[in-house]
Protein backbone atom coordinates (compact mmCIF):
# COMPACT_ATOMS: atom_id res chain seq x y z
CA UNK A 1 0.00 0.00 0.00
CA UNK A 2 1.35 3.36 -1.01
CA UNK A 3 1.61 5.70 1.95
CA UNK A 4 0.16 9.15 1.95
CA UNK A 5 2.13 11.40 -0.38
CA UNK A 6 4.43 8.78 -1.83
CA UNK A 7 2.25 8.30 -4.88
CA UNK A 8 3.18 11.84 -5.84
CA UNK A 9 6.77 11.20 -4.93
CA UNK A 10 7.00 8.07 -7.06
CA UNK A 11 5.42 9.99 -9.91
CA UNK A 12 7.84 12.87 -9.56
CA UNK A 13 10.79 10.50 -9.65
CA UNK A 14 9.39 8.67 -12.66
CA UNK A 15 8.75 11.92 -14.55
CA UNK A 16 12.16 13.43 -13.82
CA UNK A 17 14.22 10.26 -13.71
CA UNK A 18 16.62 11.23 -16.50
CA UNK A 19 17.37 14.64 -14.98
CA UNK A 20 17.77 13.13 -11.54
CA UNK A 21 20.17 10.53 -12.86
CA UNK A 22 22.37 12.96 -14.79
CA UNK A 23 22.38 15.51 -11.97
CA UNK A 24 23.22 12.79 -9.44
CA UNK A 25 26.08 11.48 -11.58
CA UNK A 26 27.41 14.98 -12.22
CA UNK A 27 27.38 15.72 -8.49
CA UNK A 28 29.32 12.58 -7.69
CA UNK A 29 31.85 13.22 -10.42
CA UNK A 30 32.36 16.83 -9.32
CA UNK A 31 32.63 15.55 -5.77
CA UNK A 32 35.60 13.44 -6.86
CA UNK A 33 33.96 10.04 -7.08
CA UNK A 34 36.14 9.00 -10.00
CA UNK A 35 39.37 10.60 -8.83
CA UNK A 36 40.75 7.62 -6.99
CA UNK A 37 40.48 5.59 -10.20
CA UNK A 38 38.90 2.73 -8.28
CA UNK A 39 35.72 3.00 -10.30
CA UNK A 40 35.02 3.85 -13.94
CA UNK A 41 32.32 6.28 -14.98
CA UNK A 42 30.43 3.57 -16.88
CA UNK A 43 30.29 1.39 -13.77
CA UNK A 44 29.16 4.27 -11.59
CA UNK A 45 26.48 5.15 -14.12
CA UNK A 46 25.19 1.57 -14.14
CA UNK A 47 25.11 1.47 -10.33
CA UNK A 48 23.24 4.77 -10.20
CA UNK A 49 20.75 3.84 -12.88
CA UNK A 50 20.01 0.47 -11.33
CA UNK A 51 19.58 1.91 -7.87
CA UNK A 52 17.36 4.74 -9.06
CA UNK A 53 15.10 2.32 -10.98
CA UNK A 54 14.70 0.17 -7.90
CA UNK A 55 14.17 3.18 -5.65
CA UNK A 56 11.38 4.36 -7.92
CA UNK A 57 9.81 0.86 -7.85
CA UNK A 58 10.08 0.92 -4.09
CA UNK A 59 8.37 4.30 -3.86
CA UNK A 60 5.59 3.12 -6.12
CA UNK A 61 4.91 -0.03 -4.16
CA UNK A 62 6.13 0.59 -0.67
CA UNK A 63 5.66 4.24 0.13
CA UNK A 64 8.56 5.84 1.97
CA UNK A 65 9.20 3.21 4.60
CA UNK A 66 12.67 1.81 3.90
CA UNK A 67 11.73 -1.30 5.89
CA UNK A 68 8.94 -2.12 3.42
CA UNK A 69 9.62 -5.27 1.36
CA UNK A 70 9.25 -3.16 -1.78
CA UNK A 71 12.66 -1.62 -0.99
CA UNK A 72 14.28 -5.03 -0.64
CA UNK A 73 15.84 -5.02 -4.10
CA UNK A 74 17.01 -1.43 -3.80
CA UNK A 75 18.68 -2.28 -0.49
CA UNK A 76 20.31 -5.36 -1.97
CA UNK A 77 21.85 -3.35 -4.76
CA UNK A 78 22.91 -0.68 -2.31
CA UNK A 79 24.45 -3.37 -0.09
CA UNK A 80 26.31 -4.78 -3.08
CA UNK A 81 27.64 -1.33 -4.00
CA UNK A 82 28.70 -0.64 -0.41
CA UNK A 83 30.28 -4.03 0.07
CA UNK A 84 32.33 -3.77 -3.09
CA UNK A 85 33.41 -0.28 -2.04
CA UNK A 86 34.42 -1.64 1.32
CA UNK A 87 36.53 -4.29 -0.38
CA UNK A 88 38.04 -1.83 -2.84
CA UNK A 89 39.23 0.48 -0.10
CA UNK A 90 36.85 3.39 -0.57
CA UNK A 91 36.59 5.71 2.41
CA UNK A 92 33.36 5.81 4.44
CA UNK A 93 32.71 9.33 3.11
CA UNK A 94 33.05 8.21 -0.49
CA UNK A 95 30.69 5.34 0.16
CA UNK A 96 28.11 7.42 1.99
CA UNK A 97 28.23 10.03 -0.79
CA UNK A 98 26.61 7.55 -3.16
CA UNK A 99 23.30 7.79 -1.33
CA UNK A 100 23.52 11.25 0.17
CA UNK A 101 24.40 12.98 -3.08
CA UNK A 102 21.05 11.81 -4.40
CA UNK A 103 19.26 14.23 -2.09
CA UNK A 104 19.83 17.38 -4.07
CA UNK A 105 18.65 16.01 -7.43
CA UNK A 106 15.57 14.63 -5.68
CA UNK A 107 14.81 17.96 -4.00
CA UNK A 108 15.31 19.76 -7.32
CA UNK A 109 12.86 17.41 -9.02
CA UNK A 110 10.32 18.02 -6.27
CA UNK A 111 10.73 21.77 -6.59
CA UNK A 112 10.04 21.52 -10.30
CA UNK A 113 6.52 20.36 -9.46
CA UNK A 114 5.94 23.71 -7.77
CA UNK A 115 7.24 25.56 -10.83
CA UNK A 116 4.93 23.46 -13.00
CA UNK A 117 1.99 24.47 -10.83
CA UNK A 118 2.82 28.17 -11.20
CA UNK A 119 0.80 28.43 -14.40
CA UNK A 120 -2.31 27.15 -12.65
CA UNK A 121 -2.69 29.93 -10.11
CA UNK A 122 -2.06 30.55 -6.42
CA UNK A 123 -4.16 27.66 -5.07
CA UNK A 124 -2.30 25.10 -7.13
CA UNK A 125 1.07 26.54 -6.10
CA UNK A 126 0.12 26.42 -2.42
CA UNK A 127 -1.03 22.81 -2.75
CA UNK A 128 2.13 21.85 -4.67
CA UNK A 129 4.32 23.60 -2.07
CA UNK A 130 2.67 21.75 0.77
CA UNK A 131 3.06 18.42 -1.03
CA UNK A 132 6.68 19.17 -1.84
CA UNK A 133 7.50 20.07 1.74
CA UNK A 134 6.05 16.79 2.87
CA UNK A 135 7.78 14.81 0.11
CA UNK A 136 11.09 16.51 0.84
CA UNK A 137 10.87 15.39 4.44
CA UNK A 138 9.93 11.84 3.40
CA UNK A 139 12.78 11.66 0.91
CA UNK A 140 15.22 12.93 3.53
CA UNK A 141 14.18 10.27 6.02
CA UNK A 142 14.24 7.55 3.38
CA UNK A 143 17.68 8.44 2.03
CA UNK A 144 19.08 8.86 5.54
CA UNK A 145 17.92 5.36 6.39
CA UNK A 146 19.32 3.95 3.19
CA UNK A 147 22.57 5.79 3.84
CA UNK A 148 22.85 4.19 7.26
CA UNK A 149 22.13 0.82 5.72
CA UNK A 150 24.93 1.43 3.21
CA UNK A 151 27.34 2.32 6.03
CA UNK A 152 26.47 -0.76 8.02
CA UNK A 153 27.19 -3.01 5.07
CA UNK A 154 30.37 -1.09 4.35
CA UNK A 155 31.62 -1.44 7.93
CA UNK A 156 30.75 -5.13 7.93
CA UNK A 157 32.78 -5.64 4.76
CA UNK A 158 35.73 -3.87 6.35
CA UNK A 159 35.43 -5.93 9.52
CA UNK A 160 35.34 -9.11 7.47
CA UNK A 161 38.58 -8.09 5.79
CA UNK A 162 40.22 -7.40 9.12
CA UNK A 163 39.02 -10.72 10.52
CA UNK A 164 40.34 -12.55 7.49
CA UNK A 165 43.70 -10.84 7.74
CA UNK A 166 43.79 -11.75 11.40
CA UNK A 167 43.22 -15.38 10.58
CA UNK A 168 45.88 -15.29 7.90
CA UNK A 169 48.38 -13.76 10.26
CA UNK A 170 47.59 -16.29 12.96
CA UNK A 171 48.20 -19.15 10.57
CA UNK A 172 51.41 -17.60 9.35
CA UNK A 173 52.73 -16.92 12.79
CA UNK A 174 52.75 -20.52 13.99
CA UNK A 175 55.24 -22.47 11.95
CA UNK A 176 56.48 -25.80 13.18
CA UNK A 177 60.26 -25.60 13.00
CA UNK A 178 62.83 -28.33 13.07
CA UNK A 179 65.54 -27.69 15.64
CA UNK A 180 67.42 -30.92 15.12
CA UNK A 181 66.78 -34.33 13.66
CA UNK A 182 63.86 -35.61 15.67
CA UNK A 183 63.35 -32.37 17.58
CA UNK A 184 60.58 -29.96 16.63
CA UNK A 185 59.61 -26.62 18.09
CA UNK A 186 56.29 -24.84 17.94
CA UNK A 187 56.68 -21.24 19.04
CA UNK A 188 53.16 -20.08 19.79
CA UNK A 189 52.40 -16.40 19.57
CA UNK A 190 49.16 -14.69 20.42
CA UNK A 191 45.73 -15.96 21.34
CA UNK A 192 45.15 -19.68 21.56
CA UNK A 193 41.48 -19.77 20.75
CA UNK A 194 39.61 -22.63 19.20
CA UNK A 195 40.04 -22.34 15.42
CA UNK A 196 43.63 -21.31 15.43
CA UNK A 197 44.66 -23.84 18.03
CA UNK A 198 43.11 -26.53 15.91
CA UNK A 199 45.19 -25.52 12.88
CA UNK A 200 48.36 -25.25 14.91
CA UNK A 201 47.94 -28.53 16.71
CA UNK A 202 47.13 -30.41 13.53
CA UNK A 203 50.18 -29.07 11.80
CA UNK A 204 52.35 -30.04 14.76
CA UNK A 205 51.00 -33.60 14.81
CA UNK A 206 51.40 -33.89 11.04
CA UNK A 207 55.01 -32.69 11.24
CA UNK A 208 55.70 -35.18 14.01
CA UNK A 209 54.59 -37.95 11.63
CA UNK A 210 56.39 -36.54 8.59
CA UNK A 211 59.70 -36.17 10.38
CA UNK A 212 59.37 -39.07 12.80
CA UNK A 213 60.08 -36.60 15.55
CA UNK A 214 60.76 -37.84 19.06
CA UNK A 215 60.41 -34.55 20.87
CA UNK A 216 58.23 -31.52 20.31
CA UNK A 217 58.85 -28.32 22.23
CA UNK A 218 55.79 -26.13 22.59
CA UNK A 219 56.95 -22.65 23.46
CA UNK A 220 54.30 -20.35 24.91
CA UNK A 221 56.45 -17.29 25.56
CA UNK A 222 54.24 -15.35 23.16
CA UNK A 223 50.91 -16.44 24.59
CA UNK A 224 49.49 -13.66 26.76
CA UNK A 225 46.83 -15.69 28.57
CA UNK A 226 46.67 -19.33 29.53
CA UNK A 227 43.16 -20.16 30.68
CA UNK A 228 41.42 -23.50 31.10
CA UNK A 229 40.63 -23.73 27.40
CA UNK A 230 44.24 -23.07 26.41
CA UNK A 231 45.37 -25.58 29.00
CA UNK A 232 42.94 -28.14 27.68
CA UNK A 233 44.22 -27.63 24.13
CA UNK A 234 47.78 -28.04 25.33
CA UNK A 235 46.92 -31.19 27.27
CA UNK A 236 45.13 -32.71 24.29
CA UNK A 237 48.06 -31.98 22.01
CA UNK A 238 50.52 -33.47 24.46
CA UNK A 239 48.35 -36.59 24.73
CA UNK A 240 48.00 -36.93 20.95
CA UNK A 241 51.73 -36.43 20.42
CA UNK A 242 52.42 -39.07 23.03
CA UNK A 243 50.21 -41.54 21.17
CA UNK A 244 52.33 -40.89 18.12
CA UNK A 245 55.49 -41.64 20.00
CA UNK A 246 56.67 -38.10 20.61
CA UNK A 247 57.23 -36.44 23.96
CA UNK A 248 56.33 -32.80 24.46
CA UNK A 249 58.14 -30.20 26.50
CA UNK A 250 56.37 -26.95 27.27
CA UNK A 251 58.64 -23.94 27.53
CA UNK A 252 58.27 -20.22 28.06
CA UNK A 253 55.79 -20.25 30.93
CA UNK A 254 56.37 -16.79 32.33
CA UNK A 255 56.18 -16.22 36.10
CA UNK A 256 52.82 -14.43 36.01
CA UNK A 257 51.36 -17.20 33.86
CA UNK A 258 52.71 -19.86 36.21
CA UNK A 259 51.13 -18.14 39.23
CA UNK A 260 47.85 -17.74 37.44
CA UNK A 261 47.80 -21.38 36.41
CA UNK A 262 48.34 -22.43 40.01
CA UNK A 263 45.35 -20.35 41.15
CA UNK A 264 43.29 -21.65 38.30
CA UNK A 265 44.17 -25.18 39.35
CA UNK A 266 45.42 -26.42 36.00
CA UNK A 267 48.27 -28.86 35.99
CA UNK A 268 50.14 -29.57 32.79
CA UNK A 269 51.24 -33.12 33.26
CA UNK A 270 54.31 -32.57 31.12
CA UNK A 271 57.96 -31.57 31.39
CA UNK A 272 58.24 -27.82 31.38
CA UNK A 273 61.21 -25.51 31.15
CA UNK A 274 61.55 -21.79 31.63
CA UNK A 275 63.04 -21.07 28.25
CA UNK A 276 63.16 -22.60 24.81
CA UNK A 277 66.94 -22.92 25.19
CA UNK A 278 66.53 -25.00 28.36
CA UNK A 279 63.95 -27.17 26.66
CA UNK A 280 66.25 -27.67 23.68
CA UNK A 281 69.05 -28.77 25.97
CA UNK A 282 66.77 -31.34 27.58
CA UNK A 283 65.65 -32.52 24.15
CA UNK A 284 69.21 -33.01 22.95
CA UNK A 285 70.10 -34.97 26.06
CA UNK A 286 67.12 -37.22 25.54
CA UNK A 287 68.13 -38.07 22.00
CA UNK A 288 71.69 -38.69 23.11
CA UNK A 289 73.33 -35.47 21.98
CA UNK A 290 75.21 -32.92 23.99
CA UNK A 291 76.31 -29.37 23.49
CA UNK A 292 80.06 -29.03 23.94
CA UNK A 293 82.45 -26.18 23.63
CA UNK A 294 84.59 -26.37 20.50
CA UNK A 295 87.99 -24.73 20.18
CA UNK A 296 87.56 -21.49 18.24
CA UNK A 297 90.04 -22.29 15.48
CA UNK A 298 88.05 -25.35 14.49
CA UNK A 299 84.86 -23.46 14.41
CA UNK A 300 84.76 -21.79 11.03
CA UNK A 301 81.09 -22.57 11.10
CA UNK A 302 80.27 -22.97 14.79
CA UNK A 303 78.97 -26.40 15.63
CA UNK A 304 76.42 -26.42 18.40
CA UNK A 305 76.07 -30.11 18.90
CA UNK A 306 78.25 -32.95 17.81
CA UNK A 307 76.67 -35.63 15.71
CA UNK A 308 77.40 -39.28 16.26
Amino acid sequence: MAQNGSGGLAQTVAEHQDEILSEWLALQVSGGALQSGRIKEAELRTQCRTFLDLLRDGLEQGGTDPEAPAFGRAKEVLAEVSRSRGMQGFTPTETAAFVFSLKRPMFNALNRTIEAAAGEGGGAVRAASAATARDTWDVTLLLDQLGLHAMEVFMKAREDIIARQGREISELSTPVVKLWDGVLALPLIGTLDSERTQVVMESLLQTIVDQSAEIAIIDITGVPTVDTLTAQHLLKTVAAARLMGADCIVSGIRPQIAQTMVHLGVELDVTSKATLADAFRVALTRIGRAVVKAPRAEAAAPVAARRR
Binding site: D193, T225, V226, Q232, Q256, H263, L264, V266
Partner: protein
Protein backbone atom coordinates in the same frame (compact mmCIF):
# COMPACT_ATOMS: atom_id res chain seq x y z
CA UNK B 1 26.91 -3.53 44.17
CA UNK B 2 28.92 -0.31 44.22
CA UNK B 3 29.81 0.63 47.77
CA UNK B 4 29.52 4.15 49.14
CA UNK B 5 32.79 5.74 48.20
CA UNK B 6 33.22 3.71 45.05
CA UNK B 7 33.54 5.96 42.09
CA UNK B 8 33.03 4.49 38.67
CA UNK B 9 35.76 5.93 36.49
CA UNK B 10 34.39 4.76 33.22
CA UNK B 11 32.23 1.92 32.10
CA UNK B 12 32.03 -0.11 28.96
CA UNK B 13 29.52 -2.79 28.12
CA UNK B 14 30.73 -5.41 25.67
CA UNK B 15 28.68 -8.08 23.96
CA UNK B 16 29.78 -11.69 24.27
CA UNK B 17 28.43 -13.65 21.34
CA UNK B 18 31.43 -15.29 19.74
CA UNK B 19 34.93 -16.44 20.60
CA UNK B 20 36.25 -13.27 18.93
CA UNK B 21 34.27 -11.36 21.54
CA UNK B 22 36.08 -13.29 24.27
CA UNK B 23 39.35 -12.03 22.82
CA UNK B 24 37.98 -8.48 22.78
CA UNK B 25 36.91 -8.80 26.42
CA UNK B 26 40.42 -9.90 27.41
CA UNK B 27 41.93 -6.96 25.54
CA UNK B 28 39.58 -4.45 27.14
CA UNK B 29 40.19 -5.88 30.61
CA UNK B 30 43.94 -5.89 30.03
CA UNK B 31 43.98 -2.22 29.09
CA UNK B 32 41.76 -1.31 32.07
CA UNK B 33 44.03 -3.26 34.39
CA UNK B 34 47.08 -1.46 33.03
CA UNK B 35 45.32 1.89 33.40
CA UNK B 36 44.43 1.05 37.00
CA UNK B 37 48.10 0.48 37.69
CA UNK B 38 47.84 -3.25 38.36
CA UNK B 39 51.13 -5.11 38.19
CA UNK B 40 51.79 -7.79 35.63
CA UNK B 41 50.72 -10.63 37.92
CA UNK B 42 47.45 -8.97 38.87
CA UNK B 43 46.82 -8.03 35.27
CA UNK B 44 47.27 -11.63 34.21
CA UNK B 45 45.00 -12.84 37.00
CA UNK B 46 42.07 -10.58 36.18
CA UNK B 47 42.46 -11.10 32.44
CA UNK B 48 42.48 -14.86 32.91
CA UNK B 49 39.45 -14.73 35.20
CA UNK B 50 37.70 -12.54 32.62
CA UNK B 51 38.53 -15.05 29.92
CA UNK B 52 36.97 -17.87 31.97
CA UNK B 53 33.81 -15.98 32.80
CA UNK B 54 33.40 -14.62 29.28
CA UNK B 55 33.66 -18.13 27.89
CA UNK B 56 31.17 -19.45 30.45
CA UNK B 57 28.80 -16.66 29.43
CA UNK B 58 29.26 -17.67 25.81
CA UNK B 59 29.21 -21.46 26.11
CA UNK B 60 26.96 -22.16 29.09
CA UNK B 61 24.91 -18.97 29.14
CA UNK B 62 24.32 -18.84 25.40
CA UNK B 63 25.88 -15.37 25.12
CA UNK B 64 25.45 -12.18 27.09
CA UNK B 65 27.32 -9.08 28.10
CA UNK B 66 30.11 -7.90 30.33
CA UNK B 67 30.24 -4.57 32.02
CA UNK B 68 33.80 -3.40 32.51
CA UNK B 69 34.32 -0.71 35.14
CA UNK B 70 37.41 1.11 36.25
CA UNK B 71 36.80 1.71 39.94
CA UNK B 72 38.46 3.48 42.80
CA UNK B 73 38.03 3.48 46.55
CA UNK B 74 40.06 6.21 48.14
CA UNK B 75 43.52 5.78 46.66
CA UNK B 76 42.92 2.19 45.63
CA UNK B 77 42.16 1.56 42.04
CA UNK B 78 40.89 -1.50 40.34
CA UNK B 79 38.75 -3.17 37.74
CA UNK B 80 35.29 -4.60 38.26
CA UNK B 81 33.60 -6.89 35.79
CA UNK B 82 29.98 -7.97 35.68
CA UNK B 83 29.09 -10.85 33.39
CA UNK B 84 25.44 -11.36 32.65
CA UNK B 85 23.45 -13.79 30.59
CA UNK B 86 19.88 -14.96 30.31
CA UNK B 87 20.74 -18.59 29.75
CA UNK B 88 19.70 -21.68 31.67
CA UNK B 89 21.24 -20.57 34.97
CA UNK B 90 23.12 -22.76 37.45
CA UNK B 91 21.00 -25.10 39.57
CA UNK B 92 23.66 -25.74 42.23
CA UNK B 93 26.23 -23.00 42.58
CA UNK B 94 28.38 -24.79 45.16
CA UNK B 95 28.66 -27.78 42.89
CA UNK B 96 29.52 -25.57 39.89
CA UNK B 97 32.27 -23.91 41.93
CA UNK B 98 33.88 -27.27 42.74
CA UNK B 99 37.06 -28.02 40.87
CA UNK B 100 36.50 -30.59 38.19
CA UNK B 101 32.75 -30.15 37.94
CA UNK B 102 31.69 -29.59 34.36
CA UNK B 103 28.58 -30.17 32.30
CA UNK B 104 30.28 -29.28 29.06
CA UNK B 105 33.39 -31.42 28.71
CA UNK B 106 35.69 -28.72 30.05
CA UNK B 107 38.19 -29.05 32.86
CA UNK B 108 35.63 -27.71 35.28
CA UNK B 109 38.10 -25.23 36.71
CA UNK B 110 36.96 -21.94 35.22
CA UNK B 111 34.39 -20.78 37.74
CA UNK B 112 36.27 -21.77 40.90
CA UNK B 113 39.52 -20.58 39.32
CA UNK B 114 38.13 -17.15 38.52
CA UNK B 115 37.02 -16.86 42.15
CA UNK B 116 40.55 -17.64 43.35
CA UNK B 117 41.98 -15.16 40.86
CA UNK B 118 39.82 -12.28 42.09
CA UNK B 119 39.67 -10.14 45.22
CA UNK B 120 35.89 -9.98 45.07
CA UNK B 121 33.56 -12.60 43.69
CA UNK B 122 29.81 -12.64 43.67
CA UNK B 123 27.53 -14.97 41.79
CA UNK B 124 23.81 -14.82 41.33
CA UNK B 125 22.06 -17.45 39.30
CA UNK B 126 18.78 -19.26 39.16
CA UNK B 127 17.51 -21.92 36.78
CA UNK B 128 15.68 -20.34 33.88
CA UNK B 129 16.64 -16.78 34.80
CA UNK B 130 20.27 -16.64 33.84
CA UNK B 131 23.53 -15.92 35.58
CA UNK B 132 25.36 -12.87 36.82
CA UNK B 133 28.92 -13.00 38.07
CA UNK B 134 30.74 -9.96 39.42
CA UNK B 135 34.44 -9.93 40.13
CA UNK B 136 36.94 -7.25 41.01
CA UNK B 137 40.67 -7.05 41.31
CA UNK B 138 42.31 -4.22 43.23
CA UNK B 139 45.80 -2.85 43.11
Amino acid sequence: MATGDDAARGTAVLAIGSSDDVVRVRQEVRSRAVAAGLGIVDQTKIVTAASELARNTLIHGGGGTVRVESVSQGVRRGVRLTFEDHGPGIPDINQALKDGFTTGGGLGLGLGGSKRLSNEFEIDSAPGRGTRVTIARWK
